[in-house]
């Protein structure tokens, strides 16, 4: 080796699941430094995997019997999946370990704040984010849990954990209240209890469930949320147990279809049953389905409604017009055909309705450069999508919250890059 004779030449290591986030994301920090360090950036969907802290949430379950069962499972076979209905053997997201940040476990030595905050701050700083909204990863499938009371118990415990232990520590982190949608009365109780809490900027339903959103049992809930003037989000997901999807033999296939499927079902019910007319001030946000499904559904529903108006008599406009007033998160952004993507963004009024989301640290995450590098967007459109649209929807202060990208680069540990 002759490296000593070469100035500024050093060998760098492999990135693994235990590499510090700031090193994994160093290229994203450089992208920020070059292109968007002065932008306000709001990440509307991130998952600092709470499975690392699941026992803390189990300990907050208010029902004595369920808490005891959960605590027993934590110590045994259930471990960090206690009481959950996820199937570890079907967790194929990392592609056999090729993508190490899915389920990452990086070392944290600073114990002055909760470890969750430490790791979240690293990813926020590295990507150049001013705010990050945290969604619960392991709970994304709870809508398919056969025991409704488990969803209610975990929803209460998770919301309490987020509100009492996480959000007060760092105002850059925001939360959407998890609604145990299979039990409407419990949703109403949670909205009444926590809906006005600082740091709770909206409400989320995990879309993977078979509950019609237009059912009368939800009308009081929607009224309460509309009254609070905070958006209602539907976060999509997958489920191998859904009979149609059981035909799919690869995670790729499941992921491509299911994440758009559940939000298509819910949005279709929402519009055909005239919910936008019944709750005209309720802002709807559709999360983690990408964008390609939106023009498909706009065209499909417009076509059907024009032929069969008697089946959607509550509508006063075409479905696509209602859809253009809803909000959508960007990830996973389909970027393989720029003409189609440009047409999609035009069809959905992306300049005012699209919100950037990273989905970090999941395998199909998007950096802010996913938006900033789009050749057909104006700079104002990029600024809107990356942060200003979210600031308007969630009423966020637009004062800069993040450190300078160059400072993040110079202070990162450089363990692998």
């Amino acid at each position: 080796m002759t490296e000593n004779s070469i100035p500024n030449f050093r060998e760098i290591g492999e990135i693994t699941g235990s590499t510090d986030s700031r090193d994994v994301l160093a290229h994203a920090t450089r992208q920020a430094a070059r292109n968007f360090d002065d932008y306000l950036i709001v990440d509307v969907d991130a998952h600092v995997s709470e499975d690392h802290f699941w026992s803390e949430i189990i300990d907050l379950i208010d029902n004595d019997v369920l808490r005891q069962i959960g605590q027993h499972q934590v110590k045994g076979f259930g471990g960090q999946n206690a009481l959950l209905n996820i199937s570890p053997g079907l967790s194929l997201q990392s592609v056999g370990g090729r993508i190490g940040h899915q389920g990452r476990r990086e070392p944290v030595t600073d114990d002055s704040v909760h470890r969750f905050i430490s790791t979240a701050r690293r990813s926020m700083d590295a990507m150049g984010l001013d705010y990050q909204v945290v969604f619960p990863s392991a709970m994304l499938l709870l809508g398919m849990h056969p025991q409704d009371e488990i969803e209610v118990a975990l929803a209460k415990a998770f919301n309490r954990w987020m509100i009492e232990r996480i959000l007060p520590i760092d105002t850059r982190m925001k939360g959407l209240l998890y609604l145990p949608f299979n039990t409407p009365e419990a949703c109403e109780e949670l909205v009444a209890q926590y809906g006005a809490t600082e740091g709770i900027i909206g409400f989320t339903v995990c879309s993977t469930r078979n509950k019609p959103v237009h059912h009368d049992c939800y009308m009081r809930l929607y009224s309460m949320i509309q009254e609070l003037d905070k958006p209602l989000a539907f976060h999509s997901g997958y489920h191998w147990g859904d009979p149609s999807f059981a035909q799919l033999n690869r995670f790729l296939s499941m992921h491509a279809l299911s994440f758009t499927h559940y939000n298509q079902i819910h949005l279709t019910n929402w519009i055909v049953n005239a919910m936008p007319e019944r709750f005209p001030k309720l802002n709807m946000l559709w999360v983690e389905s990408g964008l390609a499904w939106i023009p498909f559904l706009m065209q499909r529903l417009d076509h059907e409604v024009l032929m069969r108006p008697s089946e959607a008599p509550g509508l006063k406009r075409l479905p696509s017009e209602y859809m253009r007033e809803m909000y959508y998160t960007s990830q996973p952004l389909e970027r393989t055909n720029m003409k189609l993507l440009e047409a999609t963004m035009e069809a959905m009024n992306a300049e005012t309705q699209l919100l950037y989301s990273s989905d970090w640290p999941h395998w199909d995450w998007d950096s802010p450069a996913t938006i900033s590098s789009l050749p057909f967007l104006t700079e104002q459109a990029k600024r809107n999508i990356l942060g200003l649209n979210a600031a308007r929807l969630f009423k966020l202060d637009t004062t800069r919250r993040k450190p300078l990208a160059e400072d993040v680069l110079s202070s990162r540990p450089k363990t692998a890059s």
Binding site: F9, R10, E11, I12, G13, E14
Partner: protein, 136 residues
């Protein structure tokens, strides 16, 4: 696809070490004045690529090296299941899993997507990469 970025400056040759020794390692990744380069050793062949993924700019050379996965099909069309290639190795980007053939730098399904090659050669038994200047 985002374009890879690398400053075009006067070229600089860097001697990495003896080929006989380095090829035992399969890969090394270096940083030269902020430019990352992955050097790969396949038998007696040497390849070098810019450490920037053509997908979204990830640190592609710092991910795993995996055998190519094959769809194995019998003569009668029936599936024989998945298998690993015994000949082809892939460079896997740790950000999103894009895979590239180690020898060609090309994506296995869309060969129009590829890594940016960096000039590398074995001279007098030593591995030499050339950074800066026109790209290969």
């Amino acid at each position: 696809m985002s374009a890879p970025e690398m400053a075009t400056t006067a070229s600089q040759q860097i001697v990495l070490g003896r080929h006989d020794e380095l090829k035992k390692r399969q890969r090394m990744v270096i940083d030269v004045d902020g430019v990352g380069i992955g050097i790969y050793f396949v038998g007696d062949e040497v390849r070098a690529y810019l450490n920037i993924c053509p997908h979204m700019g990830g640190p592609v050379c710092q991910g795993k090296i995996m055998p190519r996965t094959l769809e194995q099909v019998a003569d009668n069309g029936k599936s024989l299941g998945l298998g690993f290639s015994k000949e082809q190795l892939h460079i896997v980007c740790p950000w999103h899993g894009f895979e590239f053939d180690m020898l060609t730098g090309r994506h296995p399904i869309d060969p129009s997507v590829g890594l940016t090659p960096i000039p590398v050669q074995v001279t007098n038994g030593e591995v030499v990469v050339t950074v800066g200047g026109p790209r290969a």
